[in-house]
């Protein structure tokens, strides 16, 4: 496969993913608005993952199936004898918690959208054979920064319900590794940029 074909495919994929991000945000916003108009529609959606917690419980789980995944969660109920399906449903979520979650995931989606935008810019510059330029260094740094913020934002959750709550830490080192890789790429492109400038000034 020719270099340009591969890059063109990568650019198209980036554009497609960005459109998906926009669609996801629109669906997410629609869902958020609908939840406020008709909360009873969501009374079957149980956020406790059907683990049937008692009054106060603390669970730590580790998954290595799709990369390392560390999840620690604490669940509590004000009235311990109630079923999870009555306490931790989406319609029972407090307004503040709902708004905070909406803003948090909107920011995550927006940053993901920006990440792919920056990656698309890099691909386009490589296609135009302007690979080693200052803008690409900045783009990779921005990607690294966005991924780091996404990692921090998705690493915790705090849902307050009318009669209980779920909070926990959810660490996925994959994002941290990707962020580190983006910063390493920025350094490589910086070095490439210096070499190209030196080459340009060699008579």
């Amino acid at each position: 496969m020719k270099k340009n074909t591969l890059l063109s495919i990568a650019i198209v994929i980036c554009k497609f993913i960005r459109v998906l991000y926009v669609l996801t945000f629109l669906i997410f916003t629609g869902f958020f608005v609908h939840l406020q108009i008709n909360p009873s529609y969501y009374n079957k959606i149980d956020l406790s993952n059907k683990l049937d917690f008692k009054n106060n419980s603390f669970v730590t789980s580790y998954k290595v199936s799709n990369g390392i995944h560390i999840n620690t969660r604490r669940t509590y109920k004000y009235e311990g004898e109630q079923k999870d399906s009555e306490v931790f449903t989406l319609d029972q979520l407090k307004k503040t918690s709902l708004y905070v979650s909406f803003i948090k995931y909107s920011v995550v989606l927006f940053l993901g959208f920006l990440c792919f935008g920056e990656f698309q810019k890099v691909m386009e510059s490589v296609k135009e054979v302007k690979t080693f330029q200052e803008n690409n260094v900045l783009s990779f740094r921005r990607i690294g920064k966005y991924l780091l913020i996404i990692c921090v934002l998705t690493s915790f959750y705090y849902h307050v319900f009318q009669r209980g709550g779920i909070n926990g830490i959810n660490i996925t080192p994959n994002l941290l590794i990707l962020s580190l890789l983006a910063y390493i790429m920025a350094e490589i492109f910086k070095e490439g940029n210096n070499l190209e400038e030196e080459n340009k000034l060699t008579v």
Binding site: E198, L201, T202, V203
Partner: protein, 68 residues
Amino acid sequence: MAIIVNLDVMMAKRKMSLSELAEKVGITLANLSILKNNKAKAIRFSTLEAICEALDCQPADILEYGKD
């Protein structure tokens, strides 16, 4: 910069214009300007040889070392 390029001095001595020298040496006017204005970071032996041949001089006539 520690290395000073005295290309303009030699060109004046030989009464040669920049475009004329560029043509004789076989490099672009832009690259020769970079060299003349002390902006170059490196010079190839082949370019230096061609300049010396065109200006009928020694490398030391073009390049000079000066402390910053």
